[in-house]
């Protein structure tokens, strides 16, 4: 059962304003419990991606606090940020692999944080790490592609490589920034099924940005809806009805179903 009083991540009054004057997040607070599959929904520009990048400190929050295992992380610097990022892996809409490198090499990049600079620049990864990388490739079902160039793979396959790279970090949390937004509907389920698998079998806490409500209802254990940088809904994904949908996406929006 979820332990409500001991969240893995706790966000308090988080605000992010960009130098251009855009306020992407406005005083939002929420908790993430261990083992959750938390889905964040909202229109493009509602602050979903910014929220994620504040959590792993790719962005510096303007105000507010973020607690990870009760440790304040919003003001960390230098090495401490890198340690945080290693514990909080991330996958992206456009996969962000190094397309000229092999699949295996891309997965090995997941252990850069625990490899010395000299060793990593000499491409010297330990046999244990190589073994581990292959086992994660096996987990996401593309072990046979290990020595192909990452750029040659299809979108769905590239996202699975990205998942393997993320797992290679041995993280506690996986941030997924619109992981299926540039994939076709059939591939969506393959990728999300893998995310569900690692959520259940490896016990990783997942925070995932999604667009399609049908996918949210199928995969999320809890949902947060953002609108113009503020939380407008938080709770059970099954409880989002027509009324809530209009509130989140606007009066004229209509739901699209992905089977």
């Amino acid at each position: 059962m979820i332990i409500q009083n001991n969240p893995i991540i706790s966000v308090k009054n988080l605000t992010k304003e960009f130098s251009s004057g855009v306020c992407a997040l406005n005083n939002i607070s929420f908790n993430v419990n261990k083992g959750e599959f938390l889905v964040v929904i909202g229109l493009s520009g509602s602050g979903k991606s910014t929220l994620m990048r504040c959590l792993n400190r790719l962005y510096d929050p303007t105000a507010g606090e973020i607690y990870f295992h009760n440790e304040e992380i919003s003001k960390l610097k230098g090495r401490a940020i890198r340690v945080l990022r290693q514990r909080m892996a991330m996958i992206f809409q456009h996969f962000n692999l190094i397309s000229r490198h092999t699949v295996l090499s891309n997965v090995l990049m997941g252990c850069l944080a625990r490899t010395s600079t000299i060793k990593s620049i000499m491409d010297f990864f330990s046999n244990d790490d190589k073994e581990l990388a292959r086992s994660y490739l096996k987990l996401v079902g593309i072990e046979d592609k290990a020595l192909e160039r990452a750029g040659q793979l299809s979108g769905g396959q590239q996202q699975r490589v990205a998942i393997a790279r993320a797992l290679m970090q041995k993280p506690e949390v996986l941030l997924a920034d619109e992981p299926v937004a540039s994939l076709d509907p059939a591939t969506c389920h393959v990728v999300l099924d893998y995310l569900e698998k690692i959520n259940r079998e490896l016990g990783l806490t997942i925070i995932c940005n999604l667009h399609f409500l049908s996918l949210v209802r199928r995969y999320a254990t809890r949902v947060i809806a953002l609108k113009s940088g503020e939380i407008v809904y938080e709770g059970d994904p099954q409880a989002i009805n027509e009324e809530w949908f209009k509130k989140i996406y606007g009066e004229t929006a209509r739901e699209i179903y992905v089977k």
């Binding site: 130098s19 251009s20 004057g21 792993n56 790719l58 890198r82 340690v83 945080l84 990022r85 290693q86 514990r87 892996a89 991330m90 992206f92 456009h94 996969f95 962000n96 692999l97 190094i98 397309s99 000229r100 490198h101 990049m109 997941g110 252990c111 850069l112 944080a113 600079t117 990593s120 620049i121 990205a162 790279r165 993320a166 970090q169």
Partner: protein, 353 residues
């Protein structure tokens, strides 16, 4: 940097640009009127104090004019250019001839062109003058009847030229490779310290690059003596500066996605550079380097003219003795090599795309 601060700096940049253009227009108009009115009196302008006054006063007037225009909300060229994008995008597009800045640009350009005709002593009469025409014809016919006896000597010198260019390029690569990362804004723009290094290196490279290799060759021919080594050093310095700039621009245009991807794994800066940036920039680096070698071959011939060794040195000797047949042979040799290098490097760059 906050939004309003940025807006202010942009406003000052605009003010500076406008003051300069207006000041320039006032200056050249007065200057042109004086020159055409009493062309014999050029010496009056050679007094340093007067020159300074003649430059400073128009700029002050330009500044006053700019101030008045800005106060009356006229969108001058400076304001238009340095207007922040988010404000510019809110305005409906207007045709240039209905704007102040459009006319300001056109008038500045036209006046510069008219003055330019005067300064360069542009004259169709000189170009089509008969006796001048005959002189040109004599040289051209001599150039087109090459003297074969000089060919072996010429070939040896042009090989020297190619090697000068090659060495300058090869030795420049490691320096430029390292410097380029320190002079790319997307890598160095994060902390005040790295930004300071960025500005320092960038300025140093800009200064080095703005001094022509010809001048470097003169300096080095005094330093290490006339010959190919001086030429090589001159080209080397210029190549380092140029390649650093070109390489760093490639880094700045690298895709952000892979960089973000590697950053998110908890990698440090060196690892991000090695894994996310280097694979993206390697091919364009090679293309630019081959092109640099090609440019260096062309420059090496010119550098020879001031004592940088190679075929240029040979060419200037024969030109000094007005031995046009020999000069013609050497010129043909240069054309052949430059054309070959040009084609060769174009093929390689095409293949690398």
């Amino acid at each position: 940097m906050s939004n309003s601060e940025d807006k202010h700096i942009r406003h000052y940049k605009g003010f500076f640009l406008d003051s300069m253009t207006f000041g320039y227009l006032i200056l050249v108009t007065i200057w042109y009127t004086i020159l055409s009115a009493e062309s014999a009196n050029e010496e009056a302008l050679l007094n340093l104090k007067q020159i300074l006054a003649a430059i400073v006063i128009p700029i002050i007037f330009g500044g006053i004019l700019t101030y008045l225009l800005h106060k009356n909300n006229v969108t001058t060229l400076g304001l238009h250019i340095f207007e922040p994008k988010y404000i510019k995008l809110q305005k409906p597009p207007t045709s240039w001839h209905k704007t102040f800045w459009g006319w300001q640009l056109l008038i500045t350009f036209l006046i510069t062109f008219i003055i330019g005709l005067h300064v360069t002593e542009f004259s169709f009469y000189e170009l089509t003058d008969e006796s001048g025409f005959h002189g040109a014809k004599r040289i051209f016919s001599a150039l087109l009847s090459p003297e074969h006896a000089i060919l072996p000597k010429g070939i040896i010198s042009i090989i020297e030229t190619i090697y000068i260019a090659f060495m300058a390029t090869i030795v420049a690569i490691p320096f430029a490779f390292v410097f380029s990362f320190f002079s790319a804004k997307n890598i160095m723009g994060n902390s005040p310290l790295t930004l300071a290094i960025y500005f320092l290196l960038r300025t140093l490279m800009n200064i080095t690059r703005s001094i022509e290799p010809l001048i470097w060759a003169i300096i080095f021919s005094v330093w290490v003596g006339i010959g190919p080594f001086a030429g090589m050093l001159a080209l080397l310095l210029h190549s380092i500066a140029s390649l650093t700039k070109q390489y760093s621009e490639i880094i700045e245009s690298a895709e952000d996605g892979p960089i973000e991807g590697i950053l998110a794994t908890g990698a440090n800066s060196a690892q991000v550079v090695w894994y996310a940036i280097v694979p993206q920039v390697l091919l364009p680096y090679i293309a630019f380097t081959v092109y640099r070698w090609d440019i260096n071959v062309r420059m090496a011939t010119i550098i020879g003219l001031v004592g940088g060794g190679g075929i240029g040195t040979l060419l200037i000797q024969y030109q000094g003795q007005a031995m046009w047949n020999e000069v013609g042979t050497l010129a043909l040799l240069i054309i052949l090599v430059v054309w070959t290098m040009d084609t060769f490097s174009a093929y390689i760059r095409e293949a690398l795309k």
